[in-house]
Amino acid sequence: MATTALPQARSYRRAAAYDWITTVDHKKIGIMYVISSFFFFLVGGVLALVIRTELAAPGLQFVSEQTYNSIFGLHAVNMIFLFVMPMLTGLGNYIVPLQVGAADMAFPRVNALSLWVFLAGGLLIESSFLFGGAPVGWTMYAPLSTHVPETGVNLLVLGLIMTGISSILGSINFLVTIFRLRAPGMSLLRMPMFCWTQLVTSVLLLFSIPVVTAGLIMIFIDRNYGGGFFEPALGGNPILWQHVFWFFGHPEVYILILPAFGIVSEIIPVFSRKPLFGYKAFVVATASIGALGFTVWAHHMFTTGAVYLPFFAFFTFLIAVPTGVKFFNWLATMWGGKLTFDTPMLYACGFIALFLIGGLDGAFLAVVPFDFMVQDTYWVVSHIHYVLVAGSVFAIMAALFYWFPKMTGRKLDERLGKVQFWVLFIGTNLAFFPQHLLGLDGMIRRIADYSANAGWSELNFLSSVGAFVIAFAILIFLWNVFSTLRSPANAPDDPWDANTLEWATTSPPPVYNFDHLPPIRSERPVFDLKHPGTGHAPAAASLAVTEGPVQ
């Protein structure tokens, strides 16, 4: 070894950056997904603060109505397409190959392509700010989206098509990885729940994104080449866009939440010291949510009068069943467990408590007469934020605290983490609970201003305070990450005493992930390894492996 030529040291620094740009390693790509989506999260967060500042009091104080129209739409686009989706993809990228015991994703180069296409699409979407904004909302309803003159709308449409292509490539990659690269012994029913949710999510992406891509292309053609798809004067139909959009848009909300379910299902068993209650029921529930997700799109269109209400209302109610199954799975897992409340567990519990509120809001919206009353009010805004902030964001926070030691070899500060949890928990409820009441009071979404005598001022002010509390929680998190990364690597390979294969290798794992794998006899191979003679582990199986992977 000592004879290896060393004078290449000077070019090494450049090589490190080059290495990140050209890498096909699923772990580096995953980390780049996480970092870039967090950047877009901050952009979307600043937009949210602008919205809440403007709405804190009646009157137009800070932005014009035209600017406001761009801001709320791009806030949603940032949060949905450029933060939650790629963040969950990034976590999946890092974790899924490790959890199934593979050395990388099935198509590493396609994986890198997905990342860079996503980034290019994301920057294209952000660039719409420079070209007049995109005052069309995230739903881009025709004929508004086909008629507003801003160039920014074209950029938004093109950027969304690109992020869609990235998602399709990514989902193919996940599916093939899960179907073909699982380690010996890991049957589909021994797969960690996070992998199951990524599998179902990938199927949803694969079947829904092409549909909205077709629709976006039609909008682009209507806007730029005189197309008539959504133009009544030319024989087209604006409601048709809503069908195309929501055929994607409803599976999309499960795309945003199913991996979050998976994360919570990974964390709760670990911090309850019990296996996940009803593993198979959970798998069936996940698959059912995925399948039912394609039957309910028109519940976003009840008030158009163009859809058959009983059908879509029935299937919307039906989705509450598998979701309820999951809640009972989580609660039964915790029941009688030896609970410890580290930060990931706190976030998982917060998720259960608050997502329930968001889910019940959704069940209310399935009631047709109620939906007619609160259509396009702040009730809907409150619902979406309870499922996406209190749901997806809480789960993402749980995941970042849970897997940070695996990714960096460092544990985030627990004390700061717990403070951050409570600040975020209070901020979320403060920001979004008053919006229920505003919705019932008739406050319409997407308005930049409201009358001082409408009686909405106090609740709006509370909601705005909540938004800044959330922002403070995110600052605590950023400080936590920053200070942890500056401290020495202190995390052991398995800091949480966890169950799944990613904890059977070093923190962070080597490029090739595993020197050797423990025998896989259940969905908890690492638990079996640490506790010979119990559960699924034969007593002899772990004779020599206890010391873990070498180097």
Binding site: G101, A102, A103, D104, A106, F107, I168, S171, I172, N173, L175, V176, R180, L181, R182, A183, P184, G185, L206, F207, S208, I209, P210, V211, T213, A214, G215, I217, M218, I221, D222, Y225, G226, G227, G228, F229, E231, L234, G235, G236, N237, L240, H243, V244, F247, Y512, N513, F514, D515, H516, L517, P518, P519, P538, A540, A541, L543, A544, V545, V550
Partner: protein, 215 residues
């Protein structure tokens, strides 16, 4: 290094080391099939939009678009669309033949089959462009000629783009085939492209029936 008693030594050689061995579907082939699944949804959306617009239109197809038909002034009163349909369907057979040849280990046969398929594909695209040219110049029928024009050009145009993608794929496997890179055991790329080409062909059959025959 301690060797696990019942553990498995993980391979570091390549990302395809899965412990599955040679059994089961090839990774790249599965990727192609999933990609085709997403493409099916893309065209399903186009067809869905087509039939939605068609079902709510008072008159369909709109008056003055009689030229979009399988009938025409050509041989036996058939239109250009029939000819290009025959060309594309035949190319599916030659593609299948080429794939069968390499499965038997006949490299020359595969190359010939691929070359013929490539030629038919290019011919299809050229004739399609001719049809577009005639529609635009003679009949003044463009993508902005109402929703019917938009649907016609977007549906056939995206299919044409997929044919172009298939042509590029065939060109790549043909170039590799001429260098002797395939054998009866190793020809995943040929299999993948042949799946894709059949998909493109089937989509055209539905497009032809929908746009030119059913109208």
């Amino acid at each position: 290094m301690t060797t696990p008693v019942d553990g498995i030594t993980a391979g570091h050689g390549s990302e395809t080391d899965s412990g599955h061995g040679a059994k089961g579907m090839d990774i790249a082939l599965m990727g192609m099939l999933l990609f085709i699944a997403s493409e099916i949804m893309f065209f399903a959306a186009l067809f869905g939009v087509y039939f939605n617009v068609r079902s709510s239109a008072a008159v369909w197809p709109p008056e003055g678009t009689e030229f979009v038909s399988w009938q025409g002034s050509g041989l036996f009163g058939l239109g250009l669309s029939v000819l290009i349909t025959i060309i594309l369907v035949s190319s599916s057979f030659t593609m299948q033949w080429a794939t069968d040849q390499i499965r038997k280990g006949n490299r020359t046969g595969m190359n010939r089959g691929l070359a013929v398929t490539l030629g038919l594909g290019i011919l299809f695209l050229c004739l399609m462009m001719t049809e577009y040219y005639l529609y635009v110049t003679v009949d003044d029928f463009g993508v902005n000629s109402g929703v019917y024009g938009s649907l016609f050009y977007v549906m056939t145009g995206f299919h044409g783009a997929h044919v172009l993608g298939g042509i590029i794929g065939i060109a790549v496997v043909l170039a590799r085939g001429m260098r002797g890179q395939f054998s009866s055991e190793h020809h995943v790329a040929v299999e993948a492209v042949h799946y894709y080409w059949h998909f493109v062909d089937v989509v055209w059959v539905f497009l032809f029936l929908t746009i030119y025959v059913l109208r």
